[in-house]
């Protein structure tokens, strides 16, 4: 017990201090995961309803009507309900699921464990950050219940739609609550980001240089920086939006807006200003979701391949360049928005530049698998899934990042397919892989491998079944966000594709229930984990007791002697050499130790 931290660590604590207002990063992580999982159920249900409409447009569903008497008036979904569904699906999934689970959840859980720290640098701030996002989530959920319903201006909340109440039913109280919810979210995320950066910079244990960090921690570090620098733009943007809505300012509203036989008195604002501010956050946000997943994939693939991660340095540089470039690509969302075409061209260059580090990561994963001895555990299956989804989604980015081809594909289902593979897919599979992998460290039990594998196969195949055909819809010209594609003659032949997608989406959605059941069942009844390092892995979190208590290590924090990827070291009889093991010395880099 070397550090003063322990004095409040091992004493008996009240229920409230342990489970509600805990300072322990591991408990806070579990709270975040529980919140993210609950929000995912809501976000997923919304997606199912969206697909219900697109699968069989205009069909009567008397049972669903009982659940949503207004949105499904006389059993048929109304257009305003449909718009609300996809708006809130996007908002909830992007912010409250895919940011919370991999970043706030696993970032908090793993950073201190992987760098050898007793806790995050600012435990109080950490607790505060969780209890700031909870009201945000509640406000977002409550917005469904107010008059006019939840926000319905898309997850990008473009004004004037989001600024003028009469523009769309959800633009009333629902939109205000959306803004307030977002402010809570951003405040929470900023606190988290600050904590991540400071912790990783200043609390690394002896011997743990930055170039010995696991790639997961590298990713979380970059994410912390991205969050700190990009989210304030959204805060500014939504506060200005609030002013335009309530105080009669004209940040986003120009002269001459005429809605519902009323000419609005605004003057001088620019709707494009919002898009710039929103996407200045929005694009780094995509990488905030993806980078941790790429980190998890690297660590999990190395562990179960029994191979060192290939090109560690290149992987680190790739993470840093992706993080840096992510601030310079926001305009690729705006090629046909009316933004200067010259500016558009500049964004093409930066956007396609970001493809290079992305490709480097993929090739390094493949090289890691080469000459591997893969153990097919559930987390490994999900990690391999990430690689496959990432390749698929990354390649379609070339069409959209090239402004000339983006003209036709922009705002079609091609885009929906693209980001569900690269961002949502990687984020979801990343979070799932991470849960299966670190579950024993969290709860001292394993999740059921049998159920896990069923979950994987259904999810992987249904994911492709749901999202791959969306490319065809987009190529054939189907726009996003339309309530009934059959309004258009040229989209009518696509109905079978839409029906097929809906069936796959239902399978995908149901499969996640297996996961939720497995999670809670295994927490109490899962197979007990008796070793502190059950997967025979190398990074520091596995040197803690089976279930680390408050303070993480019972004795001194171990010293680090090597990088975290010494699998199959030529001078070690065991096929893994953890970071806290002094011998044998790391084989010097540069392709040495070549093959065994």
């Amino acid at each position: 017990m070397s550090e003063g931290h322990d004095d409040h660590g091992h004493g008996k604590q009240s229920f409230i201090r342990t489970y509600l207002f805990s300072f322990d990063h591991k408990m806070i992580a579990k709270q975040y995961l529980t919140l993210a999982m609950s929000m995912a159920l809501v976000g997923g249900l919304l997606a199912m309803l969206v697909r219900l409409q697109l699968g069989w447009p205009g069909t009567q569903w008397p049972l669903v009507e009982k659940l949503f008497p207004v949105g499904m008036a006389s059993g048929v979904m109304t257009p305003e309900f449909y718009i609300m569904l996809f708006t809130m699906h996007g908002t909830i999934m992007v912010f409250f699921v895919l940011s919370l689970a991999p970043v706030s959840g696993f970032g908090n859980f793993l950073i201190p464990l992987q760098i050898g720290a007793r806790d995050m640098a600012f435990p109080l701030l950490n607790m505060l950050s969780f209890w700031t996002v909870v009201p945000g989530a509640i406000i977002i959920l409550i917005s469904f219940l107010v008059e006019g319903g939840a926000s319905a201006s898309g997850w990008t909340a473009n004004p004037p739609l989001s600024a003028i109440r009469s523009a769309i039913p959800g633009s009333g109280t629902g939109q205000t609550l959306w803004i307030v919810g977002m402010i809570f979210f951003v405040a929470s995320f900023t606190m988290g980001g600050l904590n991540f950066v400071v912790t990783i910079f200043s609390l690394r244990t002896k011997g743990l240089s930055m170039m010995r960090l696991p790639l997961t921690t590298w990713a979380q570090f970059t994410v912390g920086v991205l969050g700190l620098l990009s989210f304030p733009a959204l805060t500014a943007a939504v506060i200005l939006l609030l002013f335009d809505r309530g105080l009669g300012t004209s940040f986003y509203l120009p002269k001459g807006i005429f809605i519902g036989e009323t000419l609005f008195p605004h003057e001088g604002g620019a709707p494009l200003l919002w898009q710039h501010l929103f996407w200045f956050l929005g694009h780094p946000e995509v990488y905030i979701i993806m980078l941790p997943a790429m980190g998890f994939a690297s660590d999990i693939i190395a562990t179960f391949s029994r191979r060192p991660i290939f090109g560690y340095r290149a992987m680190v540089y790739a993470i840093i360049s992706i993080g840096t470039l992510s601030f310079l690509v926001w305009g690729h969302h705006m090629f046909v928005s009316g933004m200067s075409p010259f500016l558009g061209s500049a964004f093409v260059l930066t956007t396609l530049a970001i493809a290079i580090p992305s490709a480097v990561k993929t090739f390094n994963w493949l090289a890691t698998l080469w000459q591997a001895r893969i153990r097919f555990t559930t987390p490994m299956l999900f990690a391999l899934g990430i690689v496959s989804l990432f390749v698929t989604g990354g390649l379609t980015g070339v069409f959209l990042g090239t402004n000339a081809t983006d003209i036709q594909l922009h705002d079609t289902y091609f885009v929906v397919a693209h980001f569900h593979f690269i961002m949502a897919g990687a984020g979801l599979f990343g979070a799932l892989a991470a849960v299966y992998y670190w579950f024993p460290k969290m709860y001292g039990r394993f999740m059921s491998e049998g159920l896990g594998k069923v979950h994987f196969w259904l999810t992987f195949l249904a994911y492709y079944g749901t999202f791959f055909p969306m490319h065809y819809l987009g190529i054939a010209g189907m726009m996003r966000r339309i309530y009934d594609p059959n309004t258009y003659e040229y989209l009518k032949p696509l109905q079978p594709v839409n029906t097929f997608i809906t069936i796959c989406a239902f399978v995908l959605g149901s499969a996640q229930l297996i996961f939720v059941a497995n999670y809670f069942w295994s927490m109490f009844k899962g197979k007990k984990c008796t070793e502190s390092n059950p997967w025979q892995s190398n990074s520091l979190e596995w040197s803690t007791p089976v279930v680390p208590g408050h303070g993480n290590w019972e004795g001194d924090i171990p010293e680090v002697h090597r990088w975290p990827y010494d699998y199959n070291h030529p001078d070690d009889k065991a096929d893994f050499t953890p970071q806290w093991k002094a011998t044998p010395a790391k084989v010097s880099a540069g392709g040495v130790g070549a093959r065994r």
């Binding site: 807006i257 991660i309 079609t412 540069g590």
Partner: protein, 276 residues
Amino acid sequence: MPDQNAKPYVNHGMAMAISIWAIILISVLFFFKYQIPELASDRSGLDTLYYVILGITGAAFVLVQLVLGLYIWRFRHREGAVGSYWHESHKVEMIWTLGTAVVLIPIVFSGLALWNRVQAAPPDDAFVVEAVGAQFQWDFRYPGSDGEFGEFRPELYSLSNPLGIDPADSASADDFYRTNQLVLPVNRPIHIQLRSKDVQHAFFLPNFRVKQDLVPGMATSVTFTPIKVGEYEIACAELCGLGHYRMRAFLSVKSEADFQNWLSEQAAATAASVSP
């Protein structure tokens, strides 16, 4: 720990490889079935670039997923198999970093050249139409025989004057508009000036490779040449409200002679409605 080396019921490595390969096969086959809508404008360059990118990324997709499947299958854990510690190669990293760049650079520059052509200022002889988007309809205004649009002022928006055209402006006398119906001549450059009365919309002509947002308070435009006589659909591609999905209009591309006939009919009708 679960016995990671026990014989599993399912060979997940093989199953994963087969699934990935099946996904490649099925997804590639369907790319032949679902095509971009038939081209009816002079923007064939965009289609060519689309197919070039499809070819390159398609090849990369097949190749990388094929190798991924192969490695997963080939390098699954087997008793007595020997792994490798090789994990660092400057040369290999350079090959795939520069290799990716070399593939992307021609795409970027041919794309930018095309973009510049598409975004270029309209030629002087372009036929000019104004498209006005409003929740949830399109109005297409023609300048009439003087070739000039009358001024519009938002204060004048009303049920009888939905486009807010200033009657005091002499250029507005022969202007006429049609709701949800755009008629254009074939083989002539067309310049469409876009403006929105309320929220953002996007003017999308699927068959013409044309898409451009309408932004309130801002003038945007598109220039293209229709090359096929026929009837086409116009869509709104930017979320604009609860009727977004039905903000549809029709485009009729006519031969020059038919178009002139249509124009004079409209002019006559406009004159008749204006004179008391």
